[in-house]
């Protein structure tokens, strides 16, 4: 299996794990476990009324890392230039920081009773995607458009022939 293919599969698996994590409990509110989406939507819903807009923005805040995670996953499909990989790792860490800030704020200020399953699983997913994005590779989508990397071919051929 070529490196870019393996990394693509790895990153996609990370996205899937992250997505599963987002659907797992992030908080226990009103006697019920809430997924990350449900928790965020609840805040958006509460803030859409006359309650302070800050509540609504807290909900939207949760969605930003989800979008960032997809951006990082997309980067795996492209040529793994140094700057792209650095940006991808930084964005991954930013996404993680934003999610954990959401969790920390809820826990620290006793706003929500945090359930850890969702955040932890999602973190694993983000780390997997980040690791894939950080690895050097060719573009899996635009073969021939990037520079040829004999060393990567050498590596994969070696793997096949062992």
């Amino acid at each position: 299996m070529r490196v870019e293919e393996r990394l693509t599969i790895s990153a996609t698996a990370g996205v899937v794990v992250g997505a599963v994590g987002a659907f797992l409990p992030w908080a226990r509110i009103g006697g019920r476990n809430r997924s990350g989406f449900a928790t965020a939507d609840l805040f958006v819903g509460l803030g859409s009324g006359s309650l302070p807009d800050l509540i609504s923005w807290a909900g939207r805040w949760w969605y930003v890392p989800a979008v960032l995670m997809f951006c990082v996953w997309l980067s795996v499909l492209f040529d793994g230039t140094t700057w792209l990989r650095v940006v991808a790792v930084v964005v991954s860490m930013l996404a993680l920081a934003m999610w954990w800030l959401f969790v920390w704020a809820g826990w620290n200020w006793s706003v929500i009773d945090v359930a850890w399953t969702g955040p932890v699983v999602t973190t694993v997913g983000v780390l997997v995607v980040a690791h894939a994005a950080a690895s050097k590779r060719n573009s899996i989508l635009f073969t021939g458009t990037g520079r040829v990397r004999p060393s990567s071919l050498l590596q994969e051929s070696s793997e096949e022939l062992i």
């Binding site: 299996m1 070529r2 293919e5 693509t8 996609t12 996205v15 997505a19 226990r28 509110i29 009103g30 006697g31 019920r32 989406f37 449900a38 965020a40 939507d41 609840l42 805040f43 958006v44 819903g45 509460l46 803030g47 859409s48 009324g49 006359s50 309650l51 609504s56 909900g59 939207r60 969605y63 989800a66 979008v67 997809f70 996953w73 997309l74 499909l77 200020w109 006793s110 706003v111 929500i112 009773d113 899996i140 989508l141 073969t143 004999p150 071919l153 050498l154 994969e156 051929s157 070696s158 096949e160 022939l161």
Partner: protein, 867 residues
């Protein structure tokens, strides 16, 4: 060819055999090999026996399956063939993932709050209380009720927040501390709300009306239990408004409340922490809450719940028209086509006293109860009287000029001008200038403008010291009503209207504070009375304890339960802080360490404890001294302070007088309160003369001698004709001490006798008033006995009309005893008469003053006892 897959690149043909890669119809000379030409080692590897194995094609040349490892072989043709499925997967992941996130983000909020069913909403409410879960609680409260009762005042609240942010009221010990205190309170208390025996309540749901949107949820029992968790011996400590105290949450450990439905009655059982129970019965009321449905989700309605409870208590046979409000919105029968029309329709309805139309004009979403409970109101209104009222009113609005502007997701409609014919006359109000023209039926014209009236009344006197804001500046820019749109129709929004005027008030307040008043406020905040602290701290039971300042405030609660006491509930504390400039709330800022007397008659058994609070970022240390020395000083006593200058309690006889030397003294304040009384010597200005006190506490320099001498004999009635000013002061002091038993402190002084100008008159005397509440005591010391007797005799002639007190009507002037006069009077037509009872005491006249008969009696008894 092989029967099994030999490895990468081999493919399965239709004959069930595996063939080498180079035999595949699509095989192209391996480009990879050419790349490896420069690397003999790898090129040699490719020439492995597997890849060179001879093979024959199947008869039909049909390919059934390729080896899975083929995908990884890296050949250009296979890359081309793989790109399509990979692109497909990418597209799917992108579409599903980003699309899902985008959809959730855009639709987030709709249908994301509330509960699935009425009973789920009620259960969530109980769960939220049990879990100390504010989000879960708010989630199931009707959002339109939140909008009505909170949202209407949101601009005002934001203005207040702005005031706090923009002015010196950004005390570091404010909002954050309240938030932390809330957290700590719920971290310390475990509150459980369950059904009977800790199980979930059993619910019965009954739809109200036929709209399908209102349902009451009844439950047979509810148990609330409170238990303490977390660290022991911690308390919530607060200081504000000059008061300092602590809440020992462990004191409510084990408390509870049980509500049970028995034969249509609610049995309420309150369980105290010690297990004692008290029971009450609320008859013929079900245990229930009412829920409403909004966009398919169910919410708790506080308004309906309260309304239905009231209906059940008042008259269960009456039935509101549940769902009427929702019908009005759906049918569009209520409200008006435009915001202006809403005001005009309201005016028309008022002209004819069409109260149903008035109710139909009210916001049916925010205040649905007004509509649903309308039939109950309607049934109470006598039709005959209504007809007469309409005829008598004879009201017609002839001119109405309106203007509107958006406000807080609503519309504020200002009334620029309204001209009304009423009862033969005309009222013309200009809402812009606040000028009013009244034309009487006789044609007399009166013009008044509000700013002129205010100028005449208040002149150029600013409304707040330090500002140039005048009373006229408080007049709002407009007068009008707030209207809200529901489903294309416009309704009057009463709560929104309140909110608009609050908003205007908030802006004026912000103006006042921005014009320098903030300096005064800041000064106040720097004083103890202005200090606001909420913090958490240890409960000191003996020995000493130190606590570190958090966010500027540190506190220690004190329980005197375990220390040896001098008298009921007294103990001694010494307090100090580490850093210079720290403030111990209520204590003298100039010395450290400092002494305080702890008074707590409950001796730590109650939930409220005395406390010491310091404004410090360093450390507050409080030492509870084991033993407060109490000396018997009834017949006089001498002694000396120990090397630490420890204060001493002296027991006295309140009927005698004493002279103190070598020490500073103060009274022991009301022991019924849990407080720490700092010994800061404020009483020293009254000299060393002590009278009418049972206990005083004295303190002085370490090792210093002190003496208390019984001076009773010298204080028997002074020589009336040869009194000295010092004796006058002593009499006033003595009266003050006497009135301490009612907690009366010095209030103020007025020249002359208290009723001078309305009978007696003596310009050479002053009257000193004690007590700042509705009840007061006063003393007037005359230069001679004769003049006091003359003034007292003149009091008997007090009558109305009285030139000095216009509006005063003397109702009675009696003499219950030879040296007593009781005067009752009304002033400016007050409902309750004022009572004043005068007593002649040597060359002094003392009096009790109050309105409330019971309070008056208590004060009079104490004043009468003054000798």
């Amino acid at each position: 060819m092989s029967d099994t897959s030999p490895g990468a690149g081999w493919w399965l043909a239709s004959d069930g055999k595996w063939y080498a890669p180079e035999l595949h119809p699509d095989y192209v000379a391996e480009p990879v090999a050419s790349r490896f030409d420069a690397q003999p080692h790898h090129a040699a590897s490719i020439d492995s026996p597997d890849f060179a194995a001879p093979a024959t094609l199947p008869p039909d040349g049909h390919i059934v399956e390729r080896s899975t490892s083929d995908l990884a072989s890296g050949g250009t043709p296979t890359e081309t063939s793989r790109r399509a499925p990979i692109l497909g997967v990418v597209a799917v992941v992108l579409l599903v993932g980003v699309g899902f996130i985008g959809w959730r983000l855009l639709s987030g909020g709709s249908g994301s709050t509330g509960a699935d069913s009425p009973q789920a909403a009620v259960q969530q409410l109980f769960d939220s209380i049990t879990d100390a879960d504010p989000v879960g609680f708010i989630e199931v409260v009707d959002p339109l009720e939140i909008d009505t009762f909170y949202g209407s005042f949101k601009p005002f609240i934001e203005t207040l927040d702005g005031i706090v942010d923009d002015n010196a009221i950004e005390s570091p010990r404010s909002q954050e501390q309240v938030g932390e205190a809330y957290e700590r309170l719920f971290e310390t208390l475990d509150i459980n709300v369950t059904g009977s025996d800790g199980e979930a309540p059993t619910y019965t749901v009954e739809e109200l009306g036929d709209s399908g949107r209102i349902a009451k949820v009844q439950f047979d029992s509810l148990e609330v239990s409170i238990n303490r968790v977390g660290e022991p011996d911690r308390a919530l400590i607060f200081a504000g408004g000059g008061e300092v105290g602590a809440l020992d949450v462990s004191a409510v450990d084990g408390a509870g409340l049980e509500l049970r439905t028995v034969n249509d009655d609610i049995i309420v059982t309150a369980i105290e922490p010690d297990g004692d129970e008290t029971r009450e019965v609320i008859e013929d009321v079900p245990l229930q809450l009412v829920t409403v449905e909004r966009d398919g989700r169910w919410y708790l309605s506080m308004g309906y719940s309260i309304g239905d409870f009231v209906v059940e208590v008042a008259d269960p046979s009456t039935r509101p028209d549940y769902g009427r409000a929702f019908d009005i919105v759906a049918s569009g029968d209520g409200g008006s086509a435009t915001a202006h029309d809403a005001i005009r329709d309201l005016v028309e309805a008022v002209e004819t006293i069409d109260y149903q139309r008035i109710v139909d004009m009210m916001d049916p979403e925010g205040l649905p109860y007004l509509h649903d409970y309308f039939p109950l109101l309607d049934a109470e209104i006598p039709r005959g009287e209504l007809r007469e009222a309409r005829e008598e009113l004879d009201l017609r609005v002839t001119q109405l000029e309106l203007r509107d502007e958006p406000w807080n997701d609503r519309v504020f409609v200002s009334i620029d001008r309204i001209e009304t014919d009423v009862a033969g006359g005309t009222i013309d109000l200009n809402g812009d200038t606040f000028c009013l023209r009244l034309v009487s039926p006789d044609g007399d014209v009166t013009d008044e403008c509000l700013d002129q009236v205010l100028d005449e009344e208040y002149g150029d006197e600013p409304v707040a010291e330090g500002t140039d804001i005048l009373a006229r500046d408080l007049v709002p820019d407009a007068i009008g009503l707030v209207v809200i749109e529901r489903e294309g129709r416009f309704y009057l929004d009463p709560m929104g209207t309140f909110g608009w005027y609050y908003d205007v008030f908030g802006e004026v307040l912000a103006d006042v504070l921005s014009q320098g008043f903030n300096e005064a406020a800041a000064t106040d905040l720097d004083t103890s009375d202005g200090t606001f602290v909420v913090t958490e701290g240890p409960i000191l039971r003996s020995g000493s304890v130190a606590t570190t300042g958090i966010d500027g405030g540190a506190g220690v609660a004190i329980s005197v339960e375990d220390v040896r006491l001098a008298g009921a509930g007294y103990a001694l504390v010494r307090v100090s802080t580490d850093a210079e400039g720290d403030e111990i709330v209520g204590f003298d800022a100039t010395s450290s360490p400092q002494w305080g007397i702890v008074t707590d008659v409950d001796q730590g058994a109650g939930a409220v404890l005395p406390a010491v609070v310091a404004i410090t970022e360093s450390t507050l240390t409080v030492e509870l001294v084991d033993g407060l020395v109490a000396l018997d000083g009834v017949s006089g006593v001498t002694g000396e302070f120990d090397s630490a200058g420890t204060p001493v309690v002296i027991e006295l006889d309140s009927t005698r007088g004493y002279e103190l030397s070598g020490a500073t003294w103060t009274y022991l304040e009301d022991p019924n309160t849990a407080s720490v009384q700092p010994l800061i010597g404020v009483e020293a200005e009254f000299g060393s003369y002590v009278r009418s006190a049972n206990q005083v506490v004295i303190w002085g320099e370490p090792g210093q001698s002190f003496a208390i001498e019984d001076q009773t004999r010298d204080l028997v009635e002074p020589d009336a004709e040869n009194s000295a000013p010092d004796d006058d002061t002593a009499l006033v002091d003595s009266f003050e001490v006497h009135m301490q038993q009612l907690g009366f402190d010095y209030g103020y002084e007025v020249s002359g006798g208290y009723f001078d100008g309305c009978g007696p008159s003596d310009p050479d005397v002053d009257t000193v008033i004690f007590g700042d509440g509705p009840g007061q005591a006063l003393i007037t010391v005359y230069p001679t006995l004769n003049r006091a007797e003359q003034a007292f005799a003149d009091l008997r002639s007090v009558a109305s009309p009285c030139e000095s007190y216009g509006g005063l009507v003397v109702l009675s002037n009696d003499s219950p005893a030879p040296d007593e006069i009781l005067i009752t009077y009304s002033y400016d037509a007050n409902d309750e008469p004022d009572r004043e009872q005068y007593f002649l005491r040597g060359r002094s006249i003392v009096a009790a003053v109050a309105v409330d008969p019971v309070e008056f009696g208590e004060i009079a008894d104490v004043v009468r006892a003054f000798r």
